[in-house]
């Protein structure tokens, strides 16, 4: 299952013209090892849960993904705030990179959550407070990314996206709060996602999941950051120069 990751990560870090560097190569290798350990413990060594059965194995990727989707949002808001305050492009690009990676992990959280819910609750979706607020988080992130990806000047895109990014965490907090009240005031309290009694090998698998997925997150944000940096450089140098360069390359090779 990990072959895809292996191929891309190893290929990326050797070439001189890439977003890789020595440190990210080491990080990539450590990440792959951690993912291997996660597969070993999460799918093979750890036992099935008494209540949830095999479905508990979904938790080992679901819970870390959910946590990191929130970490990504937090980084986006911090980055946006510092950009607005200090006009620091570094922080703006960090905000952008982590928003995109956070959107990816939010998608993972939603999909794995639904796949866990089907065998456990019998339905893919219930209007659970956590599921609903995660879905809203996805929509908020898509809004940020839509503004950041506008076809406009860097200043325009970055500044407008930063306003949206600045409000990301406050919005997420208010949405979570309101959705929780909404569900608890009018319906019975929902089933707890982490209701299982987790200990021993299962706890260790979850722990491994946190380590591995966090490493993946860091690796992705670094590389996405560098891609964003390169995009801005290409924008700055202008289209004409890029075309000229590519023509020259075509002649050489």
């Amino acid at each position: 299952m990990t072959t895809e990751t292996v191929g891309s990560v190893e290929a990326s870090d050797n070439g001189p013209t890439s977003t890789g560097s020595r440190s990210t190569m080491i990080l990539g290798i450590v990440t792959l090892v951690a993912l291997g350990v996660l597969v070993l413990f999460g799918l093979i060594l750890s036992p099935a849960d008494e209540n949830q059965g095999e479905a508990v194995r979904i938790m080992y990727v679901h819970v870390p993904s959910a946590t990191l989707s929130y970490v990504g949002c937090f980084l986006t808001t911090i980055g946006s705030a510092i950009y607005l305050w200090r006009k620091s492009r570094w922080w703006e690009l960090l905000a952008y990179a982590s928003a995109e990676v956070a959107a990816l992990f939010t998608a993972f959280t939603l999909i794995t959550g639904m796949l866990w819910g089907r065998p456990t609750w019998g339905v893919f979706w219930i209007w659970d407070a956590r599921l609903t607020s995660e879905a809203m988080l996805m929509l908020l992130l898509l809004g940020y990314l839509a503004v950041r990806g506008l076809a406009a000047d860097y200043q325009v895109r970055a500044k407008r996206a930063a306003i949206v990014g600045l409000l990301l965490v406050p919005n997420v907090l208010i949405v979570r709060e309101s959705v929780q009240w909404w569900r608890t005031l009018h319906q019975k309290p929902t089933l707890s996602l982490a209701g299982a009694h987790i200990e021993g090998l299962m706890l260790f698998s979850l722990f491994t999941g946190f380590i591995a997925i966090t490493l993946v997150f860091i690796w992705m944000v670094i590389h996405r950051f560098r891609v964003a940096w390169l995009e801005e450089q290409v924008d700055l140098e202008g289209l004409d120069e890029a075309i000229a360069e590519r023509r020259a390359e075509g002649v050489v090779s």
Binding site: M1, T2, T3, E4, T5, G7, S8, V9, A11, S12, G15, P16, T17, S18, T19, G20, S21, T24, L35, V39, G42, L43, I44, G53, E54, A55, R57, I58, V61, H62, S65, V101, L104, A107, F108, I111, T112, L115, W116, R118, P119, V216, W219, M220, H223, R224, R226, V227, L230, E231, Q233, V234, E237, A242, E245, R246, E249
Partner: protein, 54 residues
């Protein structure tokens, strides 16, 4: 390795577990690949001194 295990023990919930893990690992792999390829394509257009990490 893991596919064999999944096939052998294909009880009710295993398909969901397998799908979830394939989605997450496949998604991470695909995103990593796309990001790296974008980086390689863009790197060629930018002078080496501006790629501060290399």
């Amino acid at each position: 390795m893991s596919t064999a295990v999944i096939l052998a023990e294909a009880t009710g919930t295993w398909p969901y577990v397998a799908t979830a893990w394939v989605v997450v690992f496949g998604g991470m792999g695909a995103y990593a690949l796309v990001t790296v390829l974008r980086g390689r394509r863009l790197s060629k257009k930018v002078a080496p001194e501006k790629r501060r990490w290399s």
